[in-house]
Subunit: 133 residues, 4 copies
């Protein structure tokens, strides 16, 4: 598994970032329905994190129905997980962008300036990704 990028610098809770990484793995096809996810202990050791924290991530994912425990085996990616991961992601992204634009307008930022930021960030994101690819 290529789960990484944790450590520090962000402000979101560790367990939430772990859960996100696992969702990404599902949405991107690295983990497929029926696959066994890495065990709590193994993942905790790999990420240098308290096992409780990893357990919390899996607990949340299970309560969302994206993963399910298999007796004696571990934790499995659930059946309909792929599409649901993508769907929930899409909505989250859309909501954030809408909210950012709303606040910009409410605070009377110049429309041209808002649009410039949108174009600029979109361009930057493509540049850096193309660079990697």
């Amino acid at each position: 598994m290529i789960l990484l990028d944790l450590n520090s610098g962000e402000e979101r809770p560790i367990y939430a970032r772990i859960a996100d990484q696992l969702k990404f793995a599902v949405a991107g096809g690295a983990l497929r329905p029926g696959d066994l996810a890495p065990s709590v202990r193994e993942l905790a050791k790999q990420l240098l994190v308290n096992p409780n924290t990893v357990a919390r991530a899996y607990r949340d994912l299970q309560s969302e129905g994206l993963f399910e425990p298999v007796r004696g085996m571990g934790i499995q990616v659930a059946e309909g997980a792929v599409e649901r991961c993508r769907q929930s992601r899409r909505e989250m992204i859309r909501a954030r962008i809408r909210r950012a634009i709303e606040e910009a307008r409410e605070s009377r930022m110049e429309p041209s300036e808002i649009e410039a930021i949108l174009r600029d960030e979109w361009a930057k994101a493509n540049q850096s990704t193309n660079g990697k690819a």
Copy 2:
């Protein structure tokens, strides 16, 4: 006063959102340098929030040098505050949009889909505002 939209839906602490709103008010020209900002007690009553929470917002703004207390009189918008508030607002909006795009890419959302969301939300925001105007 134009301060509102608090209450629910967000996850940031109340005092931080109040501070943001005050920054926006300065950036947008609703509060100008030398003006007295709404008093702690008044704003607390208006927002249905504890005065300490409002005081905390003002305290943070003071430590950034954007507002300054005037003994016995109230809290004043500082001299160079306008440009700094605009700068801060710009960075805040930009950071949010960047983060949203980053996460979209990390979860391997299709670039075309991300771009569609950006265009779509920007168009919607302009429609609704034009509708009002």
Copy 3:
């Protein structure tokens, strides 16, 4: 822990004095980068002060970048804190002495008398410390 001398006699707010003492502890080597500082609740109990007051001190120190919270663990001395605390201590002491001398001169106290006080107090301080050692 070496934190004490609070209680009475001074006029600065309690939280500011606590913050100063913590800076001094770092400057003097009693707390080193990476160390966990005493917990809010523990320090509050020890100083017979409300936990909120201690928390405020730590909050201010964090906004200066001298301490940083570690999720679920406590509050840590930041990396570059030692030199910055020494710097801050130096300026604090220097400012106080400068202010005392300024006021003495403004009130037209005889220069020879001011100088006598400075020498006298410095001598006394050394005597009492040597006596202890």
Copy 4:
């Protein structure tokens, strides 16, 4: 009267600084026992300050016995005021310097560094004053 240097930049209450200026005027001989001090209204107008604030200063000075009201005339410098102003000043200065040195030692600042600050500030104070004279 040459009372000035108020305005802003300091943190002590305005009324206390006014009271200090008046004490300095007495200690330095500008106001002598039996002289009438400037009236509350006149001084308030001159300093662009609320009359209540000036009144508070005089009230404090009266409760220290340094000034005394004269029916129908105004406020007078009291008899023994000169020596008492000098005396109280001397003690205040001495106490501040002692406290500054104490704290420096308690925080394990190098004695040589403390001494350097004392010499340095004393030298600076003399330079700037000689420059004026």
